[in-house]
Amino acid sequence: MTPPPRQQALTYLRALYDPEAANKCPQRWTWALGRGNISASTVHRQGRRMESVTLAVNGTERSLEVEPRTLLVHALRDELRLTGTNIGCDSSSCGACTVLVNGQSAKSCTMFAVQADGADITTIEGVADADGTMHPMQQAFHEHHALQCGYCTPGMVMAAISLVEEYPELDDQGVRHGLEGNLCRCTGYQNIVNAVLAVAGSGSDGSNQDRE
């Protein structure tokens, strides 16, 4: 049996979102899957209004004008020039863009800047002290050499800061599960887990002998 087109689209979405699948969708799906009149609506959309957004970024109030579709990560990087937050997968899988929104980790590629209006945003640039003293999580990453190429590191550090705050009694498995939304393509996970455990103060040595 051929699966319904929408299911095919969904399948492709899951397999890293091949938009071609959506083109096969019948007209009645066009609302949800947005096919059929893209060129017309794109023209129609030229005059969309801008929105004013005020963010408290790393303790400093910043106001900017954005298109509603501007993602938070683009506002941070392109408008505010805070390029420590990286963009990885573009599909909320890898966590490279993780920042804190009102103290909780969030993937800034999966939030519109307008959604963060009025929020406190902390990026990797904002975690060290003004005198350059590193945040304990940064220090632990340094001491445990919890990085190889470093691309995932800002997101890892931000996710880890939020993780130890949210789960006070973290063990090795807890760190691994808690960071599963952050991918290190150097696969340098062991030292990352060690660093986070050092901050969590669980007393574990971070060995992976009991991994399932």
């Binding site: 899951r14 938009p19 899957l33 509603p68 599909s91 993780t98 949210e166």
Partner: protein, 272 residues
């Protein structure tokens, strides 16, 4: 990819959101946590021209238990379900399933109402609400109406909600009975290839990703009610279902997984 452009409206209340939906028709979409909608918009699989942001409706973020009914506001985030002591006591299946959705960053943003309205057959929480025999309260221009979870899911990404309705509350019966959730996937933070939720109270068994909607495994429920063993009840887990075939699993493999995980879930829940 950058989403197609849209106009952005902030809803001041659920009523305001409903009126904005009525005004803009099916071109408008509600934005709650955005963790299903924004990825679809980024890949241009969804191109709504108006987004109505209900994410600031903090009066719809609550978990209450009263007279044996647990009421959860639609904007309650997965992480709030996960950490709620009240929920751990009165509807532990929901709290436990919430903790398995995505990863912590996703759970900080995603909402219960959002995941139900998205109606993805592969999502975890809809199946949990279904197994618990929950009720979904939808607000529309004419007021509120209650929709049984068993009547709520209509097809792939399709629910019983009208274009101008939004979910405001989810209700489940408080339960001290056994429960279990089995989620099978191959990659961390991924959707379930197959999932099984079991709730002793009401003998609800529901399946994830075994069709176009989350489904109650009615054959299993009937077998359990008739006193069958877990193995015998689980043997009919895929009866009457047409599970999808995709890169992760073909339909026959999904049927096999449904039987295996249903048996485990029934045993772990102490139901059969």
């Amino acid at each position: 990819m950058i989403p197609a452009s849209f106009d952005y409206e902030v809803a001041e209340s659920a009523e305001h959101a409903v009126s904005l939906l009525a005004e803009h028709g099916d071109e408008a979409k509600l934005l709650a946590g955005g963790h299903s909608l924004i990825p679809m918009m980024r890949f241009r699989l969804a191109t709504p021209t108006v987004l109505v942001d209900v994410g600031r409706l903090d009066d719809l973020r609550y978990i209450n238990s009263d007279n044996g009914t647990v009421s959860i506001g639609a904007l309650t985030r997965h992480s709030e379900l996960e950490h709620s002591a009240l929920l751990a006591e009165s509807a532990p299946l929901l709290a436990s399933v919430a903790a398995l959705v995505g990863d912590p960053s996703v759970r900080h943003r995603g909402t219960l109402g959002g995941t139900l309205a998205h109606a993805d057959p592969a999502s975890d929480l809809p199946a949990a609400v279904l197994a618990l025999g929950g009720t979904i309260v939808a607000r529309g221009p004419g007021g509120d109406r209650e929709i049984a979870a068993t009547d709520f899911f209509a097809g792939y990404f399709e629910s019983a909600l009208a274009d101008d309705e939004m979910i405001v509350e989810v209700r489940v019966a408080a339960s001290a009975g056994g429960w279990n959730y089995q989620k099978f996937n191959r990659r961390a933070q991924d959707w379930a290839i197959v999932g099984v939720a079991v709730a002793e109270e009401g003998a609800g068994v529901s399946l994830v990703n075994m069709g176009s909607t989350p489904v109650r495994a009615s054959a299993v429920e009937a077998a359990v009610a008739a006193g069958a063993s877990a193995a015998d009840a689980a043997a009919v887990a895929a009866e009457g279902l047409q599970p999808p075939s995709d890169l992760n699993a073909d339909a026959d493999y999904r049927r096999h997984l449904a039987r295996v995980f249903t048996e485990r879930a029934l045993k772990a829940a102490g139901v059969a």
